[in-house]
């Protein structure tokens, strides 16, 4: 199976391990990821606050490149990029003329844009993952953290379960781990405020991490590099601020799949995390 793949800036830098594990897992499932060599930034987290046109144009530039490339499904590992791509596709008809003026070409709107999580939890792939599980993650009690952008707003994502999605839990269950119910799966972690307003991020991550701990999780699964970064890198500060002991490794769901499929922590870039997964 061939699909388009847009890693986005963070997967080439701070979230390299997401990229690595995603590619490894896809490869082992027989999925070929087709990536354009010089994709550009989609503007996630800033462009929409600066200019409508930029917010549409930045992802569109990449969409235009993909539509020439072939595979009619484009998967995005980063939830923020996914959200911008979806929004651009949604807003495109309203800005069609302007976009033509900018790019001198038309977007045929035929691409199917999916998040990597949503893609891998499709019925067929989920089954094939299940079949390949070698080392069930029975030692893990996992809360699935979707964050804000993977399912919201439903108008743009087309997601039906936008308030209380469960597809990540399904995957976690198939991997042999125990998915736990909790109240914070779509709460905001502070997103790009990690750098510009860290106090906010600490508060928001504090709420999320503490609820995860309270329901008895020993791992949080994520599908977004921003979420991972905030929950992982700010965890020490949260512990200090709230006088709690959290010690909650934040793993990309692809890393969880990789582990269950028998890959080693090193292969999956687990060492890059500040809060280590101790097995």
């Amino acid at each position: 199976m061939k699909v388009g793949y847009y890693p986005g800036c963070t997967l080439n830098s701070t979230a390299e391990e997401y990229n690595i594990s995603a590619r490894k897992v896809c490869a082992s499932l027989g999925i070929e990821l087709v990536e354009i060599s010089d994709w550009t930034c989609c503007g996630a987290s800033a462009a929409h606050a600066a200019s409508h046109l930029m917010a549409v144009a930045l992802p569109l530039k990449n969409l235009l490149a993909y539509q020439k490339l072939g595979p009619d499904t484009l998967v995005l590992p980063c939830a923020a990029c996914y959200s911008r791509f979806k929004a651009a596709a949604y807003l495109y008809p309203a800005h069609e003329e302007e976009m033509e003026e900018i790019f001198r070409e038309k977007y045929d709107q035929a691409l199917e844009i999916r998040s990597l999580l949503n893609f891998l939890t499709g019925e067929e792939l989920l089954r094939s993952i299940k079949e390949r599980v070698k080392e069930p993650l029975t030692y893990l009690r996992v809360v699935a953290y979707y964050g804000c952008l993977l399912t919201r707003p439903p108008r743009i994502t087309g997601e039906e379960q936008y308030e209380y999605p469960t597809f990540m839990e399904e995957l976690i269950g198939e991997l042999g781990a125990e998915p736990l119910d909790w109240s914070y799966k779509t709460e905001c972690c502070g997103m790009s405020f990690s750098l510009s307003a860290p106090e906010l991020v600490i508060k928001l991550c504090g709420d999320i991490l503490r609820n995860a701990k309270d329901v008895g999780a020993n791992v949080i699964a994520v599908a977004c590099p921003l979420c991972q970064a905030n929950l992982d890198t700010r965890q020490r500060e949260v512990e200090k601020r709230y006088q709690v002991n959290l010690d909650l490794p934040i793993l990309y769901f692809t890393q969880l799949i990789g582990l269950a499929l028998g890959m080693t922590p090193a292969e999956l870039g687990l060492r890059k995390h500040l809060v280590p997964l101790r097995v």
């Binding site: 308030e163 909790w182 109240s183 609820n211």
Partner: protein, 1091 residues
């Protein structure tokens, strides 16, 4: 006597787009679809006025949603208490054929003649054999979630829906039954000693001919799973309001102990979340009842445990019904319930305690988090699950929300002639409104089928009654095993043996099931064979079973009052199961008591009393005219009395409603119909002067002002009277009204818009103030119509000038039901709504000074208002006010805090008010200030109340006999009420209520005779000393002191409560069937051991 109730009468009903086939004979039967409170009411009214009724109910029991409620607002009447007798009435009524577990399959034909096919689903139990003993239920191994208890309890695959279910028969749910699923079990079949289980039962198709159809299929509550942010279905302590009703109910899964599901602990902090599944983008309407039911549930929670804290998260408190604001105020002041004006975004759960966290913000306060033990979602009322398929069968169009929205001027008619609609099916509404609509439907159907009245009803005849007065008591005692229900605990044979020893007992037998069909048949023979003249059935409860045995007695020629039951099941074997010996002793005692009373019973007859079949209607507004037409169409003569020289009342001043119809045209067409109707006798310039008599036979004297100024008196006799005296606009001096030509009431504005809207084109700024003269200390009630009126007029102004800035200052916006759509539309068009409360009342500054609401004065209205009115006539209306010097209005609105004192605008109109969201004072200089003034009762209501002995509320509106179930009856039998005289209401509501009043009146007027007598009070005129005690204590105003100077009780009006008998100081009154000599022996026999 001009008798017109029965027989062939010309029918004047004018149907919408009349398709009625002229020649064909109409069928005197009606199909009612839906057995909720609405469907039951319609059925009873029709059956009581000469029509055959087929009541099709989807579920295996009647009563609808009300069966699941605990208490009902605003009286906190126990729902079961008021509903159960109604359900029994329906089941017993010989002219109602109950088709439960049935749905309409097909409808063919047209108004007057329909052929309907109804599918009655298989119950797998032969109901003619089942006695509802529930032996099978206790043994059935298939446990399932209890739907009736909203999944909070468990029941079995074979079950009785709930203990008081009518009919009291069990049903097998095929989808859960082990036998149907796995082919094994049949336990119930083995257990049932009556052989009632029938696994081969099939759906039946039942075909009936009817003349009219009434649709009352009700609603479903919103499925809270669709609002996942609140965690319903995931957090055990988040429940719906309907589940909470079950938790409150003493008959519910927790026995009335309010417990939270996670740990069965008593909750200490409870939150209600309002508008769940209402008033949002997917549900653009308001569910109308949830503000009130949440308040009710909160009060009940407080009554269960005064220490519990209750917070209600709400947007607007919609307490728009009669007595509702009072109820709300009590909730706040007496019960300390906190209303928080915020819609929480989500509920979060604390994992360890399963407590719930809710974040909210109120006013300018920052965000706060509150922790609760229990959260209740006030789910909205959505369309019924089968509304769609039902309406498709009839080719009816549902509105965007899935309800059947009718024409506001014909609220009970569907688009299909002969098909009527009522209850929540047409719009969310509460119980009284549903009952009103149902009675109205009954009146309209009766109008359509007037010529066929009485053609299909059964009048059961019995063999002549044996005269037993001279005989010694020969009592037959039937002791029931009730399967093992009684015999399992009580030694039935011992009881029977004992009964034989009692004086007067001539025959005793024991039966496996006394109520089983064949046993009942045999009872008839036994009565004859042993020449029995009194019957005692020693079995279960008379509340459900007495009618069955009494009918049997009548068939055997015995008077039904010679009957007594000893309740040795519900009050003995079931409740003393662990003490079988004592239970047997008690059973004997109960039988002894019953036998003792039976020996003293006497036959009672109901005798026919002739009655007058004409009606008097007082008040010729929309309500009075509608009621008159509905009665006249049914063939009754009507005397319509109107004080003024013109029909139409307040509606003469209304010019449009939301849906764009013209009330003026409605008035004109109604007036024309009234004037042309051969059965309506119209008296203009006329008032009621004297009134006397009793239900069925009233005598009134009317006084008419004649042209020559003299006046004449007219005497009329009538069987019923309808009060439709309406109301009027409140015109107090509030907010500078009458001080400035720019200050108008909504009605005045409406007149202006209607007469020449274009003069308003230049209007830039308009302020409307709500609740003027309503919801104040003096008039604490909500006038109900003014929120809608303001929205309606604001939309009109926006049409005339889209640029106009309109501010509506309100306490709560009460655009309930589908009206919410227009509130949304007004906002979409830019109308700005600003909330105020009693601490921050708006202030108006005009030349004459500063004005607020004048709610301190104590007069009911009058003094000020009439004098205030004249200025409206000579008001020179000027467009484009002089801009006030200094700030422009826009400038004042923009920058923050520019709220300079404004005495300088002495020549301008200034409204100063507090804006609570941004927490600042705002000041406007509007071109128009419109006061949303309320409704007050018509002049002379007090005199009329005295004349009719019809009580009024503190606010001056006529009081109904029972707020929930008799909303158009007056406690004094034979008097009915409707329209504004009952309470402020919109035109469509007045029309429905007027039709209901006509329907209720027709249940009396259509009778050939009034059946009077039975268990009612009687005065011994020899003993009476005319002390007036009975006159004072009777809750129904029945006793009077007659010309002979002694008390007289009208047998047709007496309700048989016996209150007067117990109060009469000289024991001159006795209640038949409960005579002292019948009750005292019963008491004495228990204790003495012998009679």
């Amino acid at each position: 006597m001009n008798f017109s109730g029965y027989g062939t009468v010309r029918n004047f009903s004018e149907m919408k787009g009349t398709e009625l086939k002229e020649s064909s004979e109409k069928t005197g039967a009606v199909l009612v679809v839906g057995g909720g409170i609405a469907g039951m009411q319609a059925s009873l009214d029709l059956a009581d006025s000469g029509f055959k009724v087929y009541l099709a109910e989807k579920s295996p029991f009647i009563g609808g949603k009300m069966t699941q409620l605990d208490k009902t607002f605003p009286t906190n009447d126990c729902a079961t208490c008021i509903l159960t007798p109604r359900m029994v009435d329906v089941a017993e009524n010989k002219n109602i054929e109950l088709l439960v577990y049935s749905e309409v399959e097909e409808i063919k034909g047209y108004g007057g003649n329909f052929d309907v096919k109804i599918r009655q689903k298989a119950t797998y139990v032969d109901w003619s054999k089942c006695t509802g003993c529930e032996e099978c239920v206790s043994k059935c191994p298939a446990k399932i979630d209890d739907e009736f208890n909203q999944g909070l309890g468990r029941t079995k695959a074979i079950s009785l829906p709930f203990p008081q279910a009518v009919p009291k028969k069990v049903t097998i749910k095929r989808e859960f039954c082990h036998f149907f699923l796995k082919g094994k079990c049949r336990v119930c079949e083995k257990v049932c000693q009556l052989g009632a289980i029938d696994f081969d039962d099939q759906d039946q198709i039942i075909e009936r001919k009817v003349g009219a159809i009434i649709l009352a299929p009700g609603y479903e509550v919103y499925d809270a799973h669709h609002s996942p942010e609140f965690g319903f279905g995931r957090y055990p302590n988040v429940v719906t309001s309907l589940q909470f009703e079950r938790l409150l109910s003493a008959a519910g899964p927790t026995g009335g102990h309010v417990q939270r599901p996670s740990d069965s602990q008593k909750p200490k902090r409870i939150a209600f979340l309002q508008c769940v599944g209402s008033r949002d983008q997917d549900h653009g309407y308001c569910s109308s009842v949830c503000c009130m039911y949440a308040t009710k549930e909160a009060i009940l929670a407080k009554e269960h445990d005064p220490d519990v804290d209750v917070d209600i998260y709400i947007m607007d408190m919609r307490a728009f019904g009669k007595g509702y604001d009072d109820y709300y105020n009590r909730a706040v002041e007496e019960y300390g319930i906190r209303y928080i004006r915020c819609r929480p975004s989500a509920i979060k759960e604390i994992p360890q305690s399963k407590n719930l966290l809710i974040k909210y913000q109120e006013g300018r306060e920052g965000l706060r988090t509150e922790e609760y033990d229990l959260a209740i979602l006030s789910v909205g009322l959505g369309p019924g699950s089968s509304s769609l398929s039902l309406s498709q069968k009839l080719d009816l169009q549902l509105n965007e929300y899935g309800f059947y929205q009718s024409d506001p001027f014909q609220p009970l008619l569907s688009d299909k002639p002969g098909v009527y609609v009522c209850g929540v099916f047409t719009e969310p509404k509460d119980i009284p409104e549903s009952v009103i609509q149902a009675s109205g439907c009954a009146a309209l159907a009766a109008g359509l089928l007037a010529e066929a009245r009485g053609s299909l009803v059964l009048e059961k005849t019995y063999p002549p009654e044996k005269d037993v007065s001279a005989e010694e008591p020969r009592i037959g005692v039937f002791v029931c095993h009730c399967g093992s229900n009684i015999a399992g605990v009580v030694d039935v044979n011992q009881v029977a043996e004992y009964a034989r020893s009692l004086p007067g007992v001539a025959y005793v037998e024991t039966d496996l099931f006394t109520c089983a069909q064949d046993t009942v048949l045999e009872m008839r023979e036994k009565i004859k064979e042993h020449n029995l003249n009194r019957i005692v059935v020693s079995a279960c409860t008379p509340l459900t079973h007495a009618p069955l045995f009494q009918e049997t007695m009548q068939e055997a020629g015995l008077n039904p009052y010679l009957f007594e039951m000893a309740n040795i099941r519900n009050q003995c074997s079931w409740v003393h199961a662990r003490e079988p010996e004592k239970a047997t002793e008690k059973a004997k005692e109960l039988v002894r008591m019953s036998v003792a009373r039976a020996a003293h019973l006497e036959p009672l007859t109901k005798f026919p009393m002739p009655l007058n079949h004409d009606a008097l209607v007082v008040g010729g507004g929309i309500s009075g005219m509608t009621a008159s037409l509905a009665l006249a169409d049914q063939g009754f003569e009507v005397y319509l009395v109107e004080r003024e020289g013109r029909l139409g009342g307040i509606a003469n001043r209304l010019h449009y409603v939301f849906e764009n119809q013209d009330p003026g045209e409605l008035v004109t067409s109604l007036a024309r119909k009234v004037e042309e109707h051969p059965r309506i006798h119209l008296y203009l310039h006329t008032e009621l002067k004297k009134f006397s008599g009793f239900v069925g036979n009233f005598r009134s004297i009317l006084s008419r002002r004649t042209d020559d100024g003299a006046g004449e008196e007219i005497e009329v006799e009538h069987g019923a009277i309808i009060v439709a005296t309406g109301g009027q606009e409140y015109l107090g001096p509030d907010y500078g009204y009458s001080r400035d030509v720019r200050i108008l009431t909504q009605l005045e504005l409406e007149e202006k818009i209607a007469s020449n809207g274009s003069v308003l084109q230049g209007i830039k700024d308009v302020v409307m103030i709500q609740c003027v003269g309503s919801r104040t200390k003096v008039r604490p009630y909500c006038s109900r119509i003014c929120c809608g009126e303001a929205v309606k007029n604001a939309l009109r102004l926006k049409e005339i000038n889209p640029e106009a800035r309109i501010f509506v200052l309100y306490k709560d916006i009460r655009t309930y039901g589908f009206m919410e759509k227009y509130y949304t539309e007004a906002r979409e068009k830019g109308v700005i709504f600003v909330r105020y409360d009693d601490e921050h009342l708006p202030e108006v500054i005009v030349a004459g000074g500063r004005f607020g609401p004048k709610s301190g004065s104590n007069e009911h209205q009058r003094e000020t208002e009439k004098q205030a009115a004249p200025h409206t006539q000579d008001m020179a209306f000027s467009v484009g006010q002089p801009e006030p010097t200094g700030h422009s209005t826009a400038a004042t609105m923009q920058g923050r805090g520019e709220t300079s004192a404004s005495e300088q605008y002495w020549d301008s109109l200034t409204v100063r008010f507090y804006e609570p969201i941004l927490d600042e004072m705002l000041e406007l200089h509007p071109d128009l200030l419109v006061l949303s003034t309320g409704v007050v009762p018509s002049e002379g209501y007090e005199e009329l109340s005295r004349l009719l002995k019809a009580p009024i509320t503190q606010d001056g509106f006529f009081l109904e006999a029972h707020v929930k179930l008799r909303p158009v009856d007056v406690a004094f039998e034979g008097i009915f009420l409707c329209g504004l005289s009952h309470y402020p209401k919109y035109i469509h509501e007045s029309i429905a209520q007027a039709q209901a009043a006509a329907g209720r009146a027709a249940t009396i007027l259509s009778k050939k005779f009034l059946e009077v007598g039975g268990a009612i009070a009687e005065v011994d005129s020899e003993k009476c000393v005319a002390c007036l005690t009975c006159v004072r204590v009777c809750p129904y105003y029945v006793p009077i002191i007659n010309v002979e100077g002694v008390a007289q009780i009208d047998p047709a009006a007496c309700q048989g409560c016996g209150i007067c008998t117990a109060e009469c100081p000289v024991r001159a009154i006795s209640l038949r069937h409960y005579l002292d000599e019948q009750i005292i022996p019963k008491v004495e026999s228990l204790l003495a051991g012998v009679v």
